[in-house]
């Protein structure tokens, strides 16, 4: 644990060293631009691989041993199966059985189904997690129980970190719904079909060793090959790679809550009145009942006007698929599929395209898709008077969520956060957020049921709504209104021990998560 801390440009105290590696404090949006060459994977020679293309080994344990599993190995997994993942826990069961210690787990996201890994964090099998620490894993981290310091990265930040060598993956295990013995793999078919495998793309290209695990082996070639077998070292056939009914997790139905529907309606009206919704526009609305409902309102507006959107970025779901099939949107650029309709559409519709964090979010790409989106709808646990927002900790200071693609999406032309002014008794707008995950300059609009605050930097939006019936207020007014109802909450209490850091999209540290007192 580092004793050295420095204040970054947002005034947040961040460590200069994490798990023995020196770190760079956040410097501002688009300020940090490393030079030199990208990290490169080890040179492989095809002479070392079976000429018949059959890379199948009997068990996952064999594959891990052959891949050189040892103390301190950095192992990556992916969340395509969401809460139905069966592979991550098996990997660490094996590592524990073999007596290895101080492993680093690099998941693209973690889910409740992986809570049993807490015992390996306690007994030293796993040293720390880089990626996301959700739910119980987050609480465990907040309580200061993880041996090393956790690192939170966005989906794009994960690609960036792999490309610039901030994280060097020893062994990537890619759980695949369908694969061939050569290692070509796809997510769009098979009993555990989950859509796409984009989160594993960087790992397949850069990890020292790559293992594909599948429960649906097909003869070469497996098409489409979302993951190229040419990157793969070993293939393992398991009984079950994921639990299909749990792959579709999270909220996949539009909300019935009148308060959330009001938020959705206000957001759609805002987008309409500001001209954001126009023929050929583009949008991204994530999962969650409110976001899904906004998509439905967008569809209503487009249908009524005889217009269509050029593209929608997914998280695809049945509502987005309906829009595609009705001709209200030309393309779905899909980053992950939230329901089985999304998976079906990806197989059947030419306009439903499979993307990855490389195309969508990567900081080290020559541009990416996210910044071209006209409007993105995101959530937040807290927002402050400078429009800085938090998605990882709650107001009580406990880490409970990962960043996902949230930070990367902030680069869209207009970022809107529809959030209730308070949850139960907890006000959402604060003097200062507990953890800054996104700087206020990138957050344009806060829509609450009691009023809409537009970032003063967006004078264009303010001007467009001069005559609007929408309840436009300042963020200070919204904060005061929330506190008048709830009272002013006490500040959470922390020790001076840093338990995790939040990386910005460029790899610098934007904020620190502290142990709760």
């Amino acid at each position: 644990m580092s004793d050295k801390f420095i204040k970054n440009v947002l005034g947040r105290l961040v460590p200069t060293e994490v798990n023995g590696k020196s770190q760079i404090p956040y410097q501002g949006v688009g300020k940090y631009k490393p030079t030199g060459r990208k990290y490169a994977p080890l040179i492989a020679s095809c002479a070392d691989y079976p000429a018949d293309g059959n890379k199948i080994v009997p068990t996952l344990k064999d594959a891990l041993i052959k891949s050189g599993l040892r103390d301190g190995s950095v192992i990556s997994t992916h969340h395509h199966f969401r809460n139905g993942d069966l592979i991550a826990v098996q990997i660490f069961d094996i590592a524990h059985e073999l007596g290895f210690k101080d492993l680093v787990w690099v998941p693209s996201a973690s889910f409740e189904c992986q809570n049993s890994l807490i015992k390996y964090l306690e007994d030293g099998t796993i040293h720390h997690i880089e990626g996301s620490m959700n739910g119980s894993l987050g609480r465990f981290t907040s309580e200061g129980k993880m041996k090393g310091m956790g690192i939170l990265r966005s989906h794009g930040g994960r690609y960036q970190a792999i490309q610039d060598g901030d994280v060097i993956i020893d062994i990537a295990v890619i759980a695949a719904p369908t694969a061939d013995p050569f290692g070509n793999a796809t997510g769009d078919r098979g009993p555990a079909a989950c859509g796409l495998l984009g989160f594993a793309l960087a790992d397949s290209q850069y990890a020292n060793k790559v293992i594909v695990a599948t429960d649906n082996i097909v003869p070469f070639p497996c098409v489409p090959w979302q993951i190229h077998g040419n990157y793969v070292d070993y293939v393992v056939v398991v009984d079950q790679v994921g639990i299909p009914e749990k792959i579709v997790s999270g909220t996949t139905e539009i909300t019935k809550s009148p308060d959330r529907l009001l938020l959705a309606e206000m957001t759609a009206q805002f987008c309409d009145e500001t001209g954001i919704i126009h023929d050929g526009f583009s949008f991204q609305a994530g999962a969650g009942g409110t976001a899904l409902s906004i998509g439905v309102y967008f569809a209503d507006i487009l249908r009524e006007r005889g217009m269509k959107a050029r593209f929608a970025r997914g998280g695809s779901n049945k509502y987005l698929v309906n829009m595609l099939e009705e001709g209200l949107v030309d393309y779905i650029l899909d980053g992950q599929t939230f329901d089985l309709e999304g998976v079906r559409s990806m197989r059947e519709n030419e306009g439903h395209l499979n993307t990855s964090p490389f195309t969508s979010y990567n900081y080290h790409g020559k541009g990416n898709f996210a910044s071209q989106v006209d409007v993105v709808i995101l959530g937040a646990t807290e927002v402050d008077l400078n429009f800085n927002a938090n998605v990882v900790t709650h107001s009580d200071g406990v880490l409970l969520h990962g960043i996902g693609g949230w930070q990367n999406c902030l680069f869209s032309k207009c970022t809107i956060l529809p959030i209730p002014l308070f949850r139960d008794r907890i006000p959402v707008i604060r003097d200062e957020v507990t953890t800054i995950c996104g700087p206020g300059e990138l957050i344009d609009v806060i829509v609450t049921e009691r009023g809409i605050a537009i970032n003063p930097l967006r004078t264009d939006l303010i001007e467009k709504l001069k005559y609007s019936n929408l309840p436009i207020k300042t963020i200070q007014q919204l904060k005061d209104e929330g506190e008048a109802i709830c009272g002013i909450p006490e500040k959470p209490k922390f020790t001076d021990k840093a338990v995790a850091v939040v990386k910005w999209v460029d790899g610098t540290i934007i904020d620190t998560i502290w142990e709760i007192a």
Binding site: D259, L262, D424, N469
Partner: protein, 406 residues
């Protein structure tokens, strides 16, 4: 009297509410136990409030358990007070300061397209009710509260009248059927209730009894504002007596019909088409129009069927009703949209209002449009059409500026 009592709600799915278990003891001081999902943020404030209420009733020895699911202070105060008053004979009321924005009066002929029913013992449904902009919000002490919860509900309703922002909606309470409902008046009359709904009304005497108690309370508390009444007709006898009821008192400003109980009384089933209640509805409309008060229709109970609701509203409007009840916030917009003035009515009203303002600016005493003179009541009606059009989103509030800019 009991020695321990439990008040309020807890458990899975309960939000913005709390459960209080209180036992009065002989010695050993106040033993306070707080279990709250917001404890790290509001623990101190919860404790402070609890101790404040106990001290107000001079309680020095008690076991108090608060199981909190994020209750707002006015809810928690109501719960603690109800628990105390279950155990102690006292008339003392623990009141938080009234929100200044709740001190408004409503006009006799205020627009009453929609009135949203909220169960009186379910705080989470109250908190955001006003932001959905119904014309009226009804805190219901009658059918929406279970018999054994009616006592504690009256404290929640009283505190809501004081400390819940109604965002300009008319502040209404449905009391229990007279005579039981007369006791409810003690909890609401001193706290600026705008309108009281009197359920299952069958004769003028019920109105008189309510008004007598209101007058006593007004004198006692030095209240001068108006308190309007809306009797609800829910039986065959009520329908027959509807004219008598409508004329019972000057503060009866509207009369509603409740069709669930009415159709049960007739021994028939309620249908969406409503043929079975055509006579009753027409009778209520006629009684109201004869007296010059607003006839208000029943609720539409299928909250998922917006098309059915729309048809119901259109039928209601064509029968002569001025509004109807609703039981879900999503119904409000449909009710407003379909009771709201049509586009040609709005256009005509705009011309009249513009002519009026123009005449005023030019110092003319007479308003005319083309060659026609316009009487003051016509201007007033046009202005009201404009107000309603703005409120229902059919017209921009800055319509004059926008149209003059062009």
């Amino acid at each position: 009297m009991d020695t321990t009592v439990s008040i309020g709600n807890k458990g899975k799915g309960v939000r913005s509410d709390c459960s209080i278990t209180l036992g009065l003891t002989g010695s050993s001081g106040i033993i306070l136990q707080i279990e709250s999902k917001v404890k790290s943020l509001f623990g101190k404030q919860i404790e402070q409030l609890a101790r404040q209420v106990l001290a107000f009733y001079n309680i020095e020895n008690a076991n108090l358990l608060i199981e909190d699911s994020g209750a707002l202070p006015f809810v928690m105060a109501a719960r603690i007070e109800a628990a105390i008053r279950r155990l102690m004979a006292t008339d003392k009321e623990f009141l938080l300061p009234m929100l200044p924005q709740n001190n408004y009066q409503t006009a006799r002929d205020k627009n009453r397209f929609s009135r949203l029913y909220l169960p009186g013992n379910t705080p989470p449904l109250m908190i955001n009710a006003g932001i959905h902009q119904p014309d009226g919000i009804i805190l219901d002490l009658e059918d929406a509260v279970a018999p054994d919860k009616k006592y504690e509900a009256s404290f929640v309703v009283r505190n809501a009248l004081r400390n819940l922002d109604f965002y300009g909606a008319e502040r209404m309470v449905r009391i229990n059927q007279v005579p039981r409902g007369l006791e409810d008046l003690d909890f609401i009359v001193p706290h600026n209730v705008n309108l009281i709904l009197i359920p299952k009304c069958e004769n003028a005497s019920q109105i008189d009894q309510v008004n007598e108690r209101i007058e006593v309370l007004k004198t006692k508390h030095g209240i001068s504002g108006n308190i309007w009444l809306m009797p609800i007709i829910e039986s065959a006898l009520g329908v027959i007596k509807s004219y008598e009821i409508a004329t019972a008192a000057a503060n009866v400003v509207a009369m509603a019909i409740g069709l669930e109980d009415y159709t049960a009384d007739l021994g028939t089933k309620r249908t969406n088409e409503g043929n079975e209640s055509f006579f009753a509805r027409s009778q209520v409309v006629n009684a109201c129009r004869a007296v010059g008060i607003q006839p208000i229709d029943s609720v539409f109970s299928d909250v998922g069927d917006m098309e059915g609701l729309k048809n119901n509203v259109l039928r209601s409007k064509s029968l002569g009703f001025d509004g109807m009840g609703c039981i879900h916030p999503r119904q409000i917009k449909v009710i407003h949209d379909n009771f709201a003035p049509e586009t040609d009515e709005i256009e005509k009203a705009k011309k009249i209002v513009n002519a009026f303002i123009d005449a005023n600016e030019r110092g003319l005493g007479v308003v005319s449009l083309g060659t026609k003179m316009i009487d003051p009541p016509v201007v007033k009606r046009a202005q009201r059409t404009i107000d309603v059009a703005i409120k229902t989103g059919k017209l921009n509030q800055n319509w004059r500026e926008i149209e003059n800019v062009r």
